[in-house]
Every structure is written in structure tokens, then in C-alpha cells.
């Protein structure tokens, strides 16, 4: 049987157009999955109920909206993506999808996701989704990312909106509890990304992205990581005080918080060479687990309450 192969020249030829998987890659599936997971938690934790079919449609719209902002980000950032090791294999810098195609893809999906959410579920949720996409693309990607080391502090808000959108899809409102969920992700974002930036500083420097370690140096970054961690840990425990989280959440948030502070202190203390990089990598990895577990416990507690009640 003949095997069909392609030369590398053909796979990189933009006139061929992208494959379906290239368009899937434009959606940043991993970022998308975090948005879906936190939005689902917001929906389940919200007081009230939503028809399961409408809930599924809302989640799909939020997923597509998050993916659309990823595609628009890749359209705008193609030049720096080509320089950075972590992003150079993306479809646009590889020439498998043109920047214009990524732009059109992102815009169409943005409009579709917002309209679908508005028409079928809630216009407040749709408005928040539209604001999130606009914030991520215009405020973060186009404006802040290349201008200030505070880029991910402010830009991080975009990633923090999904639980609030999920909550609004169920209740049609914004509340203190949904704001707390927003704030947890918002304050979690800087130590998470700065831990990554600590051991990828040269990559960001080569691309001209003014991440904190590039502009202010690793010592100041380590200090800022510690400060934001000290803010995050008590904040992440507040759902247990407001009643949003139950006993399990209280135990998990305190336990994980102590561990988070431990990793942050480790990053602050180990400033040199491989040990410093290793500490930053450990904090980066743990930060993902930390957020996932906090939301997973909330999701589990409220799912049990729904099933019992």
C-alpha cells in the first residue's frame, strides 16, 4: 500500500490553507478547558437552577468565546509567538494559518458565541462574555502585554470572568459570591504567570515582552510573588466564611493555602541557578493544581447539595 507523505515545505505552505486541527489549536484548548471548568463551577454553585440543555449551551458558548479570544490573541501576537520557544509552533507563526484567517475565525466565533449565549440563556451573561473577549484582546493583548510589566495583573481579569459568566447564566445577576470567585482567579494569575516568567525570562526578553522578571529583575518578581500569594491564600478561604463553600472547602482551602505559601516562600528564598528555576517550576505546577482543586471542591459540594435537595 502506498504511504502518502508530505514534505515540510508543503506543510508550511500557506496557500494550502490550515488543517482542521490548526484551527482547533487557534482556540487554545487548554485555556479553554480551564474557562469551561471554572464557568461550570460558577453555574453549579449559583443559587437557582438552569435547564441542563441550556446549561450545556451556556458552557459551549463560554468555551467558544474563550477559544475565539485565543484565536484573536494569536492573530495579533504572531510576531512575538514566532520568537518565543513556547509559542513558535503555533499555527500562525508556522504559516499553516494566515493571520487574516485567524482574525476572521476569531471574530466570527466571538459574535456567534455572544449571540448564542444572549438569545438562548441570558443577555447579562452574554454581555459579560463579550466584555471578557474584548478585555482579553484589546486591553491585554493589544494594549498592556507589550507596554507594562503589570500586563498580566490587569489582563488576568479576562481569565477570571468565566465563573461570573456561569453564575450570571443561572441567576441573571452578579453577586458577592460570584465576585469572590472572580477575585480568586484574578489574584491567582500574577504568581502563576510570574513563576513561569521567572524560568522563561530570556524567552520573554527576546520577544520584547516586558514581563516583571525582564523589567524589574528576578528578586523583585520573587517578592511580588510572595505578596500576591499572601493576598491569595486568605482570599481563597473566604467562600468558607460567606457560606459559598462548606466544611470540605474550608479544610481544602486552608491546607492548599499553607502549601501554596510554602512554595512561594521557597521561590523567594532560592534565588540562584537551577534551584531557583526548580522552585519556580514547582510553584507554577502547584498553582494549576491549587486552582483546580479549589474549584473542584466547590463543584463537588454544590453538586451534592443539588442532588440531595
Amino acid at each position: 500500500m502506498a504511504e502518502i507523505g508530505l514534505t515540510s515545505d508543503e506543510t508550511r505552505n500557506p496557500t494550502l490553507g490550515g488543517d482542521v486541527e490548526d484551527y482547533v489549536a487557534l482556540l487554545k484548548p487548554r485555556v479553554m478547558s480551564l474557562a469551561v471548568f471554572t464557568a461550570l463551577t460558577g453555574m453549579v454553585a449559583a443559587p437557582g437552577t438552569i435547564h441542563p440543555a441550556l446549561g450545556l449551551i451556556a458552557l459551549l458558548a463560554i468555551a467558544v468565546g474563550a477559544g475565539a479570544s485565543g484565536a484573536l490573541n494569536m492573530w495579533w501576537d504572531a510576531d512575538i509567538d514566532a520568537v518565543m520557544q513556547r509559542t513558535r509552533s503555533r499555527p500562525v507563526p508556522q504559516g499553516r494559518v494566515t493571520a487574516e484567517e485567524a482574525l476572521a475565525f476569531g471574530l466570527i466565533l466571538s459574535v456567534l458565541s455572544v449571540l448564542t449565549l444572549g438569545i438562548t440563556v441570558s443577555w447579562l451573561a452574554a454581555g459579560l462574555l463579550a466584555f471578557t473577549i474584548a478585555f482579553y484582546v484589546i486591553i491585554y493583548t493589544m494594549w498592556l502585554k507589550r507596554r507594562t510589566p503589570q500586563n498580566i495583573v490587569i489582563g488576568g481579569a479576562a481569565g477570571a470572568f468565566p465563573p461570573m459568566i456561569g453564575w450570571a447564566a443561572v441567576t441573571g445577576s452578579i453577586s458577592l459570591d460570584s465576585t469572590i470567585l472572580f477575585l480568586i482567579i484574578f489574584v491567582w494569575t500574577p504568581p502563576h504567570f510570574w513563576a513561569l516568567a521567572l524560568y522563561r525570562a530570556s524567552d520573554y526578553e527576546a520577544a520584547g515582552v516586558p514581563m516583571l522578571p525582564v523589567v524589574s529583575g528576578p528578586s523583585e518578581t520573587r517578592r511580588q510573588i510572595l505578596l500576591y500569594s499572601a493576598l491569595l491564600v486568605p482570599l481563597a478561604c473566604t467562600p468558607a466564611i460567606t457560606g459559598l463553600g462548606g466544611t470540605a472547602y474550608a479544610i481544602v482551602s486552608v491546607g492548599l493555602g499553607i502549601a501554596f505559601m510554602g512554595f512561594a516562600i521557597d521561590v523567594w528564598r532560592k534565588t540562584e541557578g537551577a534551584a531557583g528555576d526548580k522552585a519556580a517550576k514547582r510553584l507554577f505546577g502547584f498553582s494549576i493544581l491549587y486552582l483546580f482543586l479549589l474549584f473542584a471542591v466547590l463543584l463537588a459540594e454544590h453538586s451534592i447539595r443539588h442532588l440531595a435537595g
Binding site: E3, I57, T116
Partner: protein, 68 residues
């Protein structure tokens, strides 16, 4: 045997896959809006007149009252 496909064949294959993906996405969107309509409007959405009538339904009581 290794055979390198020509650019045209590969271009056509990718075009076909993209068209298929767009077709499936549009079909999914139609199903999604159909389901959302049924859920939001309830069983009335399945009635021939959409659950709305131009005059009140004639009931047993109203026919009895007519001679008065």
C-alpha cells in the same frame, strides 16, 4: 513506497475537511437553537399554532351561556 502528494491534492483534502467541519458546526448550531427553543417555550412550541390562538377557546360553559 513513499509518494509525496501534490500541493493541489493536499489543498483539496484540507478544503474538504474545513468544509466538513463548517457544515458540522452549522448543523450543531441548528440543533442547539432547536433544543433551546423547545426548552424555553416548553411543549407549546410543538403545537401547530405555537400555543397562541386569536380567540379564546370555546368551552362547555361559554356555549351554555350563549342563549342568554
Amino acid at each position: 513506497m513513499m509518494v509525496a502528494t501534490s500541493g493541489n491534492d493536499e489543498q483539496r483534502r484540507r478544503q474538504r475537511m474545513r468544509s466538513l467541519a463548517i457544515g458540522l458546526a452549522l448543523a450543531a448550531l441548528v440543533v442547539l437553537f432547536y433544543v433551546a427553543t423547545i426548552v424555553r417555550l416548553g411543549p407549546n412550541a410543538l403545537k401547530k399554532d405555537g400555543g397562541f390562538t386569536s380567540r379564546p377557546p370555546v368551552t362547555q360553559d361559554s356555549t351554555k351561556q350563549a342563549p342568554k
